[in-house]
Symmetry: C2
Subunit: 561 residues, 2 copies
């Protein structure tokens, strides 16, 4: 029931058939106070219904890369679909604003919703680039302004962590299993839940976060911790020692002894004689207990005491006992030490078991590694050579440790059909004015070549026709492109009550698939970790001229003194 409330439709605010945001704390009050003071000032000036166009975009790709994954759109749409103030919220705003504010404003707020708002956005999970609007929000200026903070909040971290996940996937390679283990180190509870969702989009296979598994249907993974191992003293404490065979045909009455017998057999075998001595009994008890509980899913954490002298031999003894009863063990997890070395040694040990005891496929036992992994350590492991099949990644992934924030902004580009430009002494901070259309142009080899922004009323770029693409601010940077394929980037995701057709919100799996497909489609030099080539973002010749006309108009003429 509780969780239903967290995820289910927010009936009070329901608008159409779209559920509310995943986190019920995402309400119209989750915004900066200045959105309300501005809202009042617009209302007081009679300006509140003036039609404004805002672009949401970022200025620089994160993590020193040349691409970003756009994520968080679904939550934004769920938010505006249910945008409505409760009486209690209005009372709080009234108590917060100065007492001189007029009552009529609160009547106005009572009627505010997003039926007059339209949102055009790039599809979630797309590869995106600086300066190109990820979202274009059109609506009454007072309402659009109230959306700024929640939209930027919902997009910033989502896109950042999805990008981080994609970068980890690119380094790990397609064949590895990537597990998100970050909940405990995430920045707050839904830092954790958001991380699980957006890492899945960015290319992770599963999460440890049960709440995220339930909310989003993401596969879950997890076995046991060091505490589980040290909570046992010795195999003597195991009371119920019986285990039925996998096919149910017989019961081993003393699985503990079977494990012990296998441990002896390994220890005194030709291959392992003298390799290890007495293994840790607390660990052996823990592994045996875990196997009794999960005979079909036995995966053991082997580094509580000593990986090669205790963890691996104990694991193998239990695994072989399980195999005797027709089960298949899954593998091990390493959570400390030299993961490259230990994974190779573990693999050798497994292969030797396979040969020594003729147990087929024992050498293919799965090896999971965790412990402060990040892009750099994955890369280093690849260079050293390793035998890891799955990586569990936490802190560095979910907190985006290498760069903890993406700088998405929300800028006014037009009001009452008048284009607006935000100037700055720093050219990279000048915003591109006008309500725009955005296209991605693809070349002969199927790679995207350039993104181009045009004015709303310009003709779209045509296939196989030469188009001049200009850098928005640098006069000399321009290139002709003959696109083999043209994709319009901004699609209508929210049309309010206008009746305009809008895109459906796709299921999470489809968003992930889009992301994986788009990443594959990119020219590899844009994606490499070191010195990637910047992807080109441009404007049409017409828009270029218009930007510079406005710029000259707005900029004060200095006086040299």
């Amino acid at each position: 029931m509780e969780a239903k409330a967290a995820n289910g439709p927010n009936t009070e605010r329901s608008y159409g058939v779209i559920d509310g945001p995943t986190n019920p704390m995402v309400t119209p009050l989750l915004t900066d106070l200045y959105q309300f003071t501005m809202c009042y000032a617009y209302w007081k000036a009679g300006k509140h219904n003036e039609r404004a166009v805002f672009d949401l975009f970022f200025r620089k790709n994160p993590f020193g890369g040349e691409y970003t994954i756009f994520a968080g759109l679904e939550e934004c749409i769920k938010f505006i679909a249910n945008f409505k103030f409760t009486e209690e919220e209005i009372s709080f705003i009234r108590a917060t604003l100065p007492p001189t504010c007029e009552d009529g404003f609160y009547d106005y707020l009572r009627g505010v919703d997003c039926s007059d708002v339209e949102v055009y956005a790039i599809s979630e999970g797309s590869v995106v680039f600086p300066k190109v609007p990820l979202m274009r929000v059109e609506g009454p200026i007072a309402v659009a302004q109230l959306l700024e903070t929640p939209f930027v909040n919902l997009i910033n971290y989502a896109s950042l962590v999805a990008t981080n996940a994609a970068r980890h996937r690119l380094v790990a390679g397609k064949s590895k299993m990537l597990l998100e283990f970050g909940l405990r180190r995430a920045q707050g509870p839904d830092g954790g839940i958001g991380a699980s969702k957006y890492c899945y989009i960015g290319g992770f296979d599963a999460t440890s976060n049960v709440a995220a598994g339930r909310l989003f249907g993401i596969p879950l993974r997890g076995t046991h911790s060091h505490a589980f191992v040290s909570s046992f003293m010795s195999p003597d404490e195991i009371i119920d020692k019986s285990l039925r065979s996998c096919d149910g045909s017989r019961t081993c009455e003393d699985f503990v002894s079977l494990v012990q017998a296998w441990l002896n057999k390994i220890q005194w075998s030709r291959s392992f004689r003298g390799v290890f001595g007495e293994t840790n009994q607390s660990e052996l008890a823990a592994f045996t207990s875990y196997a009794l509980a999960f005979p079909n899913n036995f995966l053991a954490l082997v580094d509580t005491y000593d990986v090669m002298k205790s963890g691996i031999p104990n694991f193998c003894a239990v695994a072989l006992a399980l195999i005797d009863l027709g089960y298949k063990a899954v593998g091990i997890r390493l959570d400390s030490g030299d993961l490259a070395y230990l994974s190779c040694e573990a693999r050798k040990f497994f292969c030797t078991i396979e040969n020594e005891f003729g147990v087929s496929d024992f050498g293919k036992m799965s090896i999971t590694a965790s412990n402060d992994l990040n892009e750099e350590t994955l890369d280093a492991l690849n260079k050293q050579g390793h035998e890891v099949d799955a990586f569990g990644i936490g802190t560095y992934l979910v907190t985006c440790y290498a760069q903890a924030a993406l700088g998405c902004v929300f800028k006014l580009v037009e009001i009452n059909n008048q284009p607006r430009i935000k100037l700055s002494e720093d050219v990279s901070k000048v915003s591109i004015p006008c309500k725009k259309r955005c296209y991605r142009l693809f070349g002969r080899e199927g790679y995207p070549l350039v993104d181009i922004m045009t004015g709303e009323n310009e003709l779209p770029p045509k296939l196989a026709e030469r188009i001049l693409c200009r850098h928005p601010f640098s006069e000399s940077k321009r290139a002709y492109v003959v696109p083999q394929h043209v994709e319009e980037l901004l699609k209508c995701y929210w049309s309010g009550s206008s009746g305009k057709a809008r895109e459906e919100l796709p299921p999470l799996k489809n968003i992930k698939e889009r992301c994986m497909k788009q990443l594959e489609q990119m020219r590899p030099d844009h994606m490499r970790r070191l010195n990637p080539t910047p992807y080109k973002v441009s404007v049409s010749a017409k828009l270029y001229d218009f930007i510079h006309f406005l710029w000259l108009n707005e900029a004060p003429v200095g006086e040299l003194q």
Copy 2:
């Protein structure tokens, strides 16, 4: 209503009279899957009710400092006070665990709550140090284990961001106003809400986050953005130009003209002749409109076009017009450029206005600065000299950009009255075993000298008696201390149904006060930004001996080959 649900008591899970966690997504499913697989394995082995003691602690202070602020406790207590699985949650766990898991386990889960759990903790808002348990959790091992992930999640970010806030406060000095402006860049919605709460504890005065203001009663601040300025074209568009004087005695029918008159007066005054030319009309219109809406709270963002040539003169014209009508203007905000230089120039401008027009206190106009501020930039501003009265800090503060995670861990230290030690080849990762008591010893000058951990049954350190304090792992590091004051650190915050007395959860304001008081009490060399002196954390002689006895017992004896 909606928000009531987010904050109000969670009746379904209510236990005693403590409300549920602020974020309703903090449910018993907000944990790692392995907590459930271990829980099942404990249950299957009949071990689930064995009494375990876990310590929650961190190993290293963040941000290169030598102190940390402990925060997040209230949310943990609210969580366990309402810990209970819903049927729907149990169904999800059943669907997630292998089908071989026995039904009895789910009956067991149905009955699980925290009535058998006890939590001892350092008071929230305290200054804390590595290795000392922030929380000691005692209870049935299966239940305590389920609490690990949510507790660590709730403490990690809370303590990290509170510490970050405290560091900003220490650099800014007591007299400055500190405003948390981070919602849009936070890691998800309650990254933002948590940041507001914990930055307030750590020493911030107010937040821009309306939801946090409402949930926690934190003062709110905010005026307007650049978009507000650029949404205006010229003062001609202002329709309702009248403004009643502050005392209500008269009405100025054309405030726009009054502002214009002041602007002319300034421009042609003796002091300002030739200093600035035509100011930006869009900005002037925006300021005038904002003043008409908030005549008592006029604070203007002055850097949309040109601070000294447009923003400041426009602000002064509007402020002087307001003063004519008996109002007091608040001040300006700078959001770009050289904040040290511009704040000094702005102050000079204000003082010149005060002298030129005989307007008393105009020179004391408040100056707020924002724009990517952090500890370093605050420090640099102090060194350069500046005239800023208030700092608005966002990204670097709330995302803890300088170090995005704190590494709190949750380690088993005792089970069935048997102490447990977690060994590691890395000495800093060895855990301190046993159920412990922790004390802070204060010296003659009132400063804390050292924290000491003892076994549960040792006598507490006595006033004015010599106590040997030993480094937990380094034989030669030890010192005698004669405490002038002794404070026991761990207090009972949750006693389940045991009937033991427990501490009340204090209001947020008291937590903040505790934090401010404790920060003041520290010896300054522990707190300085560069090369701070580490604060000493020690164990009693008895505990030292016991740790090393256990260590030798558990560690395998290597063989040199």
